[in-house]
């Protein structure tokens, strides 16, 4: 039989022991200090912790709610999507968000009626081509700017970045005129060129920072070992891989999400997903279900790309940011 009083006493001594232990830790440098740190944080900053959690929760809802609505709406029958709950019926409203009979009707419509597959391919080709061109030329140009010693290097570099500073709209009109002259209007190459105009300077800018971070002596060592200059460049590519990943993703994103160039210069022959989606809003009405489905089709590949390349990209973006 345990005497309850002894039990409490034992408990309180335990607590005191704990304190003594904490005090001892005070005197010990190293990890013990960390342990004390945790104790303090656990007691003192609980409110801050709650505040942070609350904020993050709200932020996640804020960010993900549109996605949720898009996903559910794309699977909802027309009636479901627009049926409103009675005024003040909050429970009903919440239920409407969750409970519905899913249907793939909008997706079938999207691909059956139109030429949505072709638009998807157009988007893909335009985005990938521009990204590949930007990475290849961006790598070589960034390498040259990073390693070369020539007059006017800084000016050249600034000029390259400055082309990126012009607003998209300002470039659209002259590009339109140029493409018209070269009879490129309404073709995919026009879009690829237009995207590259914006992606290439960006690629050069990011990649130069990465090349700067690689000691030139490493390439020199390769060359002395017996490699040519090109081989030496090829050998250090793994060291700038995070930068390449970041550039690929951001270049693909720019092209993939573009509306204005594709709308102005793409025409029917080079129609991309955003333009096609806009086309679902016709005189006969707005096909909300299909628009949501199209949105899903547009977003999904980028989500996938992001997940695949995430590790590199975070490293790439932060490193690039520190370097500059």
């Amino acid at each position: 039989m345990t005497n309850p009083r002894t039990a409490t006493e034992a408990g309180s001594t335990e607590i005191q022991d704990d304190r003594a232990a904490v005090k001892d830790d005070d005197l010990v440098p190293g990890p013990a200090v960390d342990a004390r740190d945790q104790v303090v944080r656990g007691r003192g900053s609980r409110i801050v912790g709650i505040a942070i959690s609350t904020f993050l929760t709200l932020y996640v809802i804020w960010t993900l709610a549109p996605f949720y609505i898009m996903i559910t709406s794309s699977f909802k029958a027309k009636g479901d999507a627009f049926s409103l709950p009675a005024e003040g019926d909050w429970g009903g409203a919440a239920e409407k968000l969750i409970a519905f009979t899913p249907t793939t009707q909008h997706y079938t419509d999207l691909f059956a009626q139109g030429e949505f597959e072709r638009y998807f391919m157009n988007s893909l080709i335009a985005a990938l081509s521009s990204a590949i061109i930007s990475v290849v030329f961006g790598t070589t140009a960034a390498y040259a700017i990073s390693r070369g010693r020539f007059r006017g290097k800084k000016d050249l570099y600034f000029w390259i970045i400055s082309t990126r500073m012009a607003p998209v709209v300002a470039v659209t009109v002259p590009l339109y005129a140029i493409f018209k002259n070269f009879q490129l209007l309404n073709t995919l190459p026009a879009l690829i060129l237009a995207y590259t105009v914006f992606n290439l300077p960006f690629a050069i800018w990011i990649l130069k920072g990465f090349f700067d971070a690689v000691s030139y002596e490493i390439e020199e060592a390769y060359m002395v070992d017996g490699h040519s200059r090109w081989q030496a460049l090829w050998k250090i590519i793994p060291l700038v891989a995070p930068g390449l990943a970041a550039v690929v993703v951001l270049c693909v994103l720019l092209a993939w999400n573009d509306f204005i160039f594709a709308a102005v210069m793409g025409g029917e022959a080079a129609k991309t997903l955003p333009v096609a989606t806009q086309g679902l809003k016709s005189a006969s009405g707005i096909e909300w279900g299909q628009i949501m489905a199209a949105g899903m089709v547009t977003v999904a590949p980028m989500l996938l790309l992001g997940i695949v390349i995430r590790k590199y990209m975070v490293q790439g973006l932060t490193m690039g940011a520190v370097k500059q």
């Binding site: 000691s215 002596e217 490493i218 020199e220 060592a221 390769y222 060359m223 002395v224 070992d225 017996g226 490699h227 040519s228 200059r229 050998k235 793994p238 060291l239």
Partner: protein, 368 residues
């Protein structure tokens, strides 16, 4: 293995003239040390040999062949870089094997050479690691290893052991010298540490502000420096340099300063009168170890001064003596002077044959 020649070589970076009209013959199999203070153009010279810098003017030849236009990879030269320059994504083994793989060597041969070299440098345990997992000294040894596995026409070292601790550095000096002598490969070794130069090199080339000052054996550099700058650069503690004026007295020459008068030995007197010094101004050089110290004035210790500071160094000590406005360092055995307090009078003596004389204007040494 090959001889290496600099012929009127200049290196210019925009405004900076890093190497000025360098003429230098490095013999086949020689261990030549390029010695000089920071920024004097040592690395620039070395990098021109490797083909990593353009030669602004002049010609460098290797084994009798002009190499100015040759790409680095065709020069057949191995180099250790100041910053190690290891390949970060490769293991130590692969770092060392890289130059061999390029030469289409058999796997067994590569393995044998890498392991042999690693054993010499005591980095066998590290072969599986990546450069990021190595300490600075280990990195440096791997960099040396990557150079030594090859059998190139020449080795180039750019301060290869500067980052090692003193003990390891002393050992590596011996190792590197041994390896170089065993392989007999022409070697150019850049350093700003005179000890490395003096202890390892067959000959030392001393540079200052891009200008070659003297090329000679360590012995000659130490005992017959070409000018006052070389004289004070080599030797630790550095040579004392005193300003004086040459005058005639008692049919001979003396160097006179306010505080003392030094008789110029006959064999140097002729040269000094021929040297036509400007206004008779001369600089007298005396190495700290060539001076004797006493606390009682006598004929053998004619220069009087007062103690400024005493630095004991184990079995010897360095006594810093103030003479007028000048300071003179004396290296002497511990216990030579009893009272080491500041401002205590001391007296210095010297052997006349240990004196150096320099033209005070040009700095050139005057020998008999």
């Amino acid at each position: 293995m090959a001889a290496l020649t600099f012929n009127n070589v200049w290196k210019r970076y925009d405004q900076v003239e890093a190497v000025k009209n360098l003429n230098l013959d490095i013999r086949d199999g020689e261990f030549l040390c390029l010695l000089g203070p920071s920024g004097c153009g040592k690395s620039s010279s070395l990098r021109m040999i490797a083909g990593l810098e353009f030669i602004s003017e002049g010609e460098i030849s290797l084994g009798g062949q002009r190499i100015n236009e040759l790409e680095p990879r065709h020069r057949d030269i191995a180099m250790v870089f100041e910053s190690y320059a290891l390949y970060p994504q490769k293991t130590v083994y692969d770092n060392m094997a890289n130059p061999l793989r390029l030469r289409k060597m058999s796997k067994d041969e590569i393995d044998r050479r890498v392991k042999e070299t690693a054993a010499i440098l005591e980095i066998e345990r590290l072969l599986g690691r990546r450069p990021s997992q190595l300490s600075g000294g280990q990195k440096q040894r791997v960099a040396i290893g990557r150079c030594l596995v090859r059998e190139p026409k020449a080795f180039l070292f750019d301060e290869p052991i500067a980052h090692l601790d003193a003990k390891l550095r002393a050992r590596m000096r011996g190792e590197l010298k041994h390896i170089q002598k065993t392989l007999g490969t022409t070697t150019v070794y850049v350093t700003h540490d005179q000890l490395e130069g003096m202890s390892m090199a067959d000959r030392i080339a001393i540079m200052r502000d891009g200008v070659l000052q003297q090329v000679a054996t360590p012995h000659e550099i130490f005992n017959r420096p070409a000018n006052v700058w070389v004289a004070t650069f080599i030797g630790d503690p550095p040579m004392n340099v005193l300003n004086a004026e040459v005058q005639t007295a008692d049919g001979g020459l003396v160097a006179r300063a306010p505080e003392y008068t030094i008789a110029i030995p006959d064999r140097q007197a002729a040269a000094l009168s021929n040297a036509r010094l400007t206004d008779g101004k001369v600089q007298i050089g005396i190495r700290p170890e060539a001076l004797r110290l006493s606390q009682t004035p006598d004929a053998a210790h004619p220069i009087a001064g007062r103690i400024y500071a005493v630095q004991p160094l184990g079995d010897v000590e360095i006594v810093d003596v103030r003479v007028g406005d000048e300071r003179i360092l004396v290296k002497t055995e511990l216990g030579t002077i009893q009272n080491e307090d500041i401002d205590v009078p001391v007296f210095m003596g010297y052997k006349p044959e240990k004196l150096y004389f320099f033209d005070a204007v040009t700095g050139e040494a005057v020998y008999e």
